[in-house]
Symmetry: none
Subunit: 230 residues, 4 copies
DNA sequence: TATGAATGAGAATTCATTCAT
DNA sequence: AATGAATGAATTCTCATTCAT
């Protein structure tokens, strides 16, 4: 199952998604309980600040049970955070073979709309795990590397293709792609984080906010009138 | 010493700034060493992942010495992170009594330019401490509260005043201030983090990048031509 | 089946011997696998250093299966080591009723030759179990007692009879039997251990070494010329 | 301080010897207590069968204290067993430069007498540690290697020199040195082990036993009358 | 002021054993 | 008969903190 921005992501819950990962490898209820408890406590207290005993207690299992499923505490962390990292970035890595550019978008705004909706939805569903991911990346070099090298570079490549495409169409100002992408990404991430992390309890009208956001970004990066190529 | 965006911030080093904090309370060289070591290790391994013994070793003091100066490990953290948090937000909280609006800026762009330059400089100087601050805020409710309630609200108030000011001058699109501020802040923070954290080794032309950033934000939030109020 | 030095011991393998022990109690293949795995791992890592899970894994059975056959880990050890201990010392305990002395040997050298060959063969076949036995005897008082009291004493009695016999024939120097026996046993055990444990890979000419060993012992304990009783 | 067989070894106690090892590095009383407790318990229950908590209790210290002095349980073992192993074999490794042969002995019997007395004394003083050494060597490859390669080979070399020397003088039968050495060593080790380990409570007349032992070995390896070289 | 030995509560992890299936 | 999930007590080891010097 590939995730694509333009597709509605109707999966329900990170746990079910994690479950689905293994395919046939079924998880016992205890293992699921462990995972859920771990996600909760890691998100709240951080990896290093969490005692396995607390996870066990919250999961309603004996402490030893955790180590039947995960050799070490770190294994437990990685088994939560690793797959989610891939899925977070999955839609950027769809291979429509031989072509970096996904042509299904008529305008950069369309592209942004799809991107924002899709990743906001994903972030909502995987909120806690993403929290853990963000919190732990600084302390786990292998995580960081996987994030920076394996994935970010590909994401950049993909978005870059879109940006260049619309730049050539004269819709986007002709400044370096990294700057454009950083600007766009910052605005989107800023929205998602405010929405879910900083002010989750505020009443949000997502439709409206997203349209405003797209408008802000869109105008920000719009080519100057005179520059518009034929 | 109040920090103001428009002022050049010539302080050299967070350590000296921390030193200056106490005013007359002089710090012994050992205490300074402890602070520096703590900053280094906390930044690298996180608060919970750091052993006080490691700090002591790195500082070249005995384990017990740390606890002469700081009752607990957490005290040590707070003594590092607390003052810096205030200083991070200080320029937003200058009281020119009775008036929220700092009128020293001719345009929103000017305001942004000053803001970006100043806070980038500040972030550069206090890089590690800010890293610690960001990493630990999720896990320390009191830190979080201090950040969210005591300070962010005031920052918001201040910037809000600027935004409303320029909105009324017709320079800024008439959409809710929170959305505008979030957009602006996201773009700025995104730049600073990329600059210092994600790609510190890339060759940066800050002057140019900042002007581009201002241009992007400026166009993004510019009022539509027809809307410009007389 | 009694073992006697003078008999050739043609059994092939300790496992088969262990199998034979129970007589009619047949062992399932799983049980045999458990025993073999246990012998391997106990010998390599020692009883206390071995996890039952490792035995189970090496035996290709479930962890629980071990405890179907052996109530405890210690039971497993004893079921391996106990019977072998008896068999190790069996040839010394043959009851030719009413007579401690086995008269089938013409000389002490003959007796030694038979003893050495037979027990070397036995040690070769039961190498790992003997290793376990030696390694564990210090830590299991009941094992130690069984070894020291039940068995060593009888062994001593038997050999003592031989020694006294040949002493009276004037072939052996007239010093206390314990000293003589200790000397003899040390030389033999030293050979067997070097042969099998310390330098198993050296090229050995057993025939020759045994004859040399007998010669050394023989001359060592030979009566002084003048002392030879008529 | 070099140990030489012919010298009387008047040191009192392994603990003092261990203490002396570091030279200036003084040990706290607690550390000494830990070492003594560890020696006791390791000897009784074996390394793997010993809980650090038991050592701590017996030493009258907190469990954590053990790990201030020894990073791991294994470190504790090695710090006990390593130095003793060296000292056990030290007298064989004296370098009287350029000459393998220690010429201070008039006969092989003299050499043996000195060797037996000296090493018996050593074994008596370091009894428990030697017990530990013997028990643990099978399970610690690095110990085993140190023992076999670093040391045994040199011991063999040294004794070999003596043996060859007296062989040339016609006092010793002309059979391969390894066989002679093994025979001699077995008899000596057998005596020492019986003396200290198997029957420590028996009344021993060491003087007499040693003379008997030398006589037995001596006659065992004596050249046949006709072979004596002029 | 500074030390660093000592602590002991608690952390992660192991493992023999049980038991429902 | 056999499994293997589950347990929980025990084990090794860590670490913030104290305190006598």
């Amino acid at each position: 199952m590939t995730e694509h921005f333009s597709a509605n992501n109707n999966t329900e819950d990170w746990a079910q998604e994690l479950l689905a990962l293994g395919g046939e490898e079924k998880m016992t209820p205890k293992q699921v309980a462990i995972l859920q408890a771990a996600v909760d406590v890691f998100a709240e207290k951080g990896y290093a600040g969490t005692a396995t005993s607390e996870i066990a207690q919250k999961a309603g299992v004996a402490e030893g049970t955790i180590f039947r499923y995960y050799k070490t505490k770190k294994d437990l962390l990685l088994s939560i955070v690793g797959p989610t990292m891939s899925r977070l970035l999955a839609p950027f890595v769809i291979r429509n073979f031989g072509n970096l550019l996904d042509k299904s978008f008529d305008s950069y705004e369309d592209f942004l709309r799809s991107l924002i909706r899709n990743r906001l939805e994903f972030a909502r569903k995987n909120f806690k795990i993403l929290q853990i991911l963000i919190q732990e990346i600084p302390f786990h070099p292998n995580l960081r590397e996987q994030f920076m090298e394996d994935i970010m570079s590909k994401v950049f490549e993909r978005i870059s293709a879109q940006v260049e495409h619309f730049k050539q169409k004269g819709e986007i100002i002709d400044i370096p792609a990294p700057t454009l992408i950083r600007f766009t990404a910052s605005a989107i991430i800023g929205y998602i984080m405010t929405r879910l992390l900083l002010q989750p309890n505020k009443e949000w009208n997502d439709e409206e906010e997203i349209e405003l956001l797209i408008r802000l970004i869109g105008h920000g990066i719009a080519a100057d009138p005179g520059d518009r190529s034929v």
